[in-house]
């Protein structure tokens, strides 16, 4: 039987072409990658200003390709958009109030110019500076490629920017902000807050919830996180290679989770608080500069869990996790 197989194989082999050699990948120089560049429209830039009557709680959506973006809340029931040295744009009213006829939903988008089709017109505003004045109760929803962004005194913001720093102030109804390459700074704001950066730092101070269940979620890959005077009772802060600092008092019923893989965790808290701290670390260290009572301590090579109480320890829970970073709890000096 075997010999029959061998004979058959020999016969087939005579008719079967040999498999071609596998080509090897030649060394190809990498294509240079740069930050996404907005399409340029030479000779088509101009200063444009448009206004439209809007409800106080108007929703505004747009996209910005490049420029400095400044959005400010004002007391008028009107939306004003001004682009300096930018593409011409229009304001489309997607929805109006049946009572007043004012806009409740607005979309700012470039207008078509001669020779452009809808496909190559794009949907993003651009300009050296783009300024917007919107009612205080406005909700903003926008994305951007390369834009330095500052938003002040509006109700709610949801934004995603590929490159550029973001500064948000006096946002009263919640924030969802993503900056892939850039820092994120949030101050004096309230509501549910989610801040996400890939390579930038995240700073939040004077931020508080609107409702008890509002969550403050902060994440960055390689940046640092600093949280100061935070009123949220649920906080999740996570950095991978950056450090993490929390400064302020713990609140009753608070659940705080701080995690970093390689950075340090530093907590600056008043010593008269009441919280249970659970610190888990692999190859780092843990020390407390305020009086704490160690409840359990499981110290083994490569993995330690220390559960300690600040005060009676009954009012909140703090979880601190790091792989190789240092965990430190320090005293926050009371301010006069």
């Amino acid at each position: 039987m075997l010999s029959a197989v061998l004979l058959f194989a020999a016969a087939v082999n005579a008719q079967t072409p040999q498999a071609p050699p596998v080509p090897r990948t030649p060394p190809v120089p990498p294509t240079p990658r740069v930050a996404p560049v907005a399409p340029s429209f030479p000779g088509q830039t101009t200063d444009t200003e448009l206004r439209v009557a809007a409800e106080r709680n108007v929703n505004l959506k747009f996209c910005i390709s490049e420029g400095t973006l400044k959005i400010n809340g004002w007391d008028r029931n009107e939306v004003r958009i001004f682009a300096r040295s930018g593409r011409k744009f229009g304001i489309r009213v997607l929805e109006r109030s049946p009572e007043s006829g004012n806009a409740t939903w607005i979309w700012a988008t470039p207008t078509a110019i001669e020779g452009q089709t809808a496909a190559n017109r794009g949907e993003c505003l651009s300009g050296e500076t783009v300024e917007m004045d919107v009612p205080h109760g406005a909700t903003l929803n926008f994305q951007g490629r390369s834009a330095t962004t500052s938003v002040d005194s509006v109700h709610k913001v949801s934004l995603k920017i590929v490159e550029g720093n973001i500064s948000l102030r006096n946002i009263t109804g919640g924030i969802s902000a993503t900056a892939l390459q850039g820092d994120l700074i949030v101050s004096n704001s309230s509501g549910s807050v989610s801040l996400d950066s890939t390579t930038g730092n995240v700073i939040a101070y004077g931020v508080k919830p609107l409702e008890t269940s509002d969550l403050l979620k902060v994440k960055t890959n390689s940046g640092s996180i600093m949280l100061q005077r935070i009123g949220h009772r649920q906080i999740e802060a996570n950095s991978i290679t950056g450090s993490l600092q929390f400064e302020g008092g713990f609140l009753v019923g608070g659940i705080y989770n701080f995690k970093t893989s390689n950075g340090a965790i530093r907590m600056l808290v008043p010593e008269n608080g009441s919280c249970t701290v659970s610190a888990a670390y692999g190859f780092g260290s843990f020390n407390a500069a305020i009086p704490v009572e160690t409840v359990t301590e499981n110290v083994t090579p490569g993995g330690k869990i220390v559960v300690a109480r600040i005060g009676s320890g009954e009012l909140c829970n703090v979880s601190l996790t790091t792989s190789s970073g240092r965990i430190q709890i320090a005293r926050l000096e009371p301010k006069n």
């Binding site: 010999s3 004979l7 020999a10 030649p26 990498p30 994440k219 390689n262 993995g303 790091t322």
Partner: protein, 300 residues
């Protein structure tokens, strides 16, 4: 500058994507801790960007892009892994038969076997008839129910389903030879699967002792890693790539360390907690590339 600083050749190879996975991780790890090398990398990156911007049009017209080569190689690799064991065995056999001396020997062997089959007493064509009844009953029993190993003898009028099951075994020995093929087919289908896993960069150690839940993390990471490999060239700029690889190296180092600890002492809850946390970091990290691509795509 420390004594272990990288030379410019290594840095250039790193930028060009010519380093292996472990080298890349090592270089990223070193760069994250060495300012001098980070500076040198940034300078080399700038120079490369400057030069490539100048020659980009020429390069793009002369050679395919890196992504195209990657796709071609992936497709070839996939085709190779799809080839079963028997195909490879067949290919090896046919290459052996290419030599005229071996082919001649095979012909002689066949003739010898043929004559032996005809003339040797007891090895004739009518010998298997008595064995046919025994073979199917013995071989069929393990596939059905061991407790009924002798039952088919009593049941001389089997039902249609039993006939269907018994048919392959009821063939005479000459035709019964392919009976073993289902078993071979199972082996053949298993090996390419294993080959695919190793080619896909499965980093799980053989016979590793997983802590509960670890496997699901690994599966997720494996899926995301495959996705990242296909996205990284078009999503990450060189500087972002360096930062990303550095972060990934840090997390992987953390996983490695904590895994060692957990393997030594599986009851170390702290180490397990940190290990899970590190796995989650890696998932978040890999996921961030997909999110970035999604955002960039929405801005097209």
């Amino acid at each position: 500058m420390s004594r272990n600083c990288l030379d410019i050749g290594t840095i250039q190879a790193f930028l060009d994507g010519e380093t292996r996975g472990d080298e890349t991780a090592a270089i990223s790890g070193h760069i994250s801790t060495c300012d001098a090398c980070a500076m040198m990398l940034a300078e080399a990156d700038e120079e490369t960007s400057f030069v490539m911007a100048a020659v980009e049009s020429d390069v793009n017209t002369l050679v395919p892009t890196q992504r195209l080569w990657s796709r071609i190689n992936d497709a070839i690799e996939e085709e190779r892994t799809k080839v079963s064991f028997w195909h490879r065995a067949y290919a090896g056999l046919t290459s052996l038969m290419a030599g005229p001396s071996l082919a001649t020997a095979a012909v002689v062997l066949v003739l010898f076997g043929f004559f032996a089959f005809i003339f040797i007493p007891g090895g004739g064509l009518d010998a298997p008839t008595n064995q046919t009844a025994a073979v199917p009953q013995q071989t069929a029993a393990p596939f059905n129910n061991p407790s009924q190993a002798v039952a088919p003898i009593q049941n001389e009028t089997p039902t249609s389903s039993e006939i269907a099951e018994a048919q392959p075994d009821a063939m005479p020995p000459a035709a019964a030879q392919p009976k073993a093929e289902p078993v071979r087919a199972m082996q053949a289908s298993y090996r390419p699967d294993r080959a695919t896993r190793s080619a896909g960069g499965d980093f799980r150690p053989v016979n590793a002792l997983y802590v509960p839940g670890e496997d699901s993390y690994l599966n997720t990471i494996e899926t995301l890693k495959a996705s990242y490999d296909s996205q990284k060239d078009r999503v990450l700029s060189p500087s972002s790539r360096v930062a990303f690889e550095r972060d990934l190296a840090v997390v992987e180092n953390s996983i490695k360390q904590m895994r060692e600890v957990v393997r030594k002492n599986p009851n170390n809850q702290a180490a397990r907690q940190v290990l899970y946390s590190s796995y989650q970091d890696k998932i978040d990290l890999l996921n961030s590339v997909g999110q970035k691509e999604e955002l960039l795509a929405s801005l097209q």
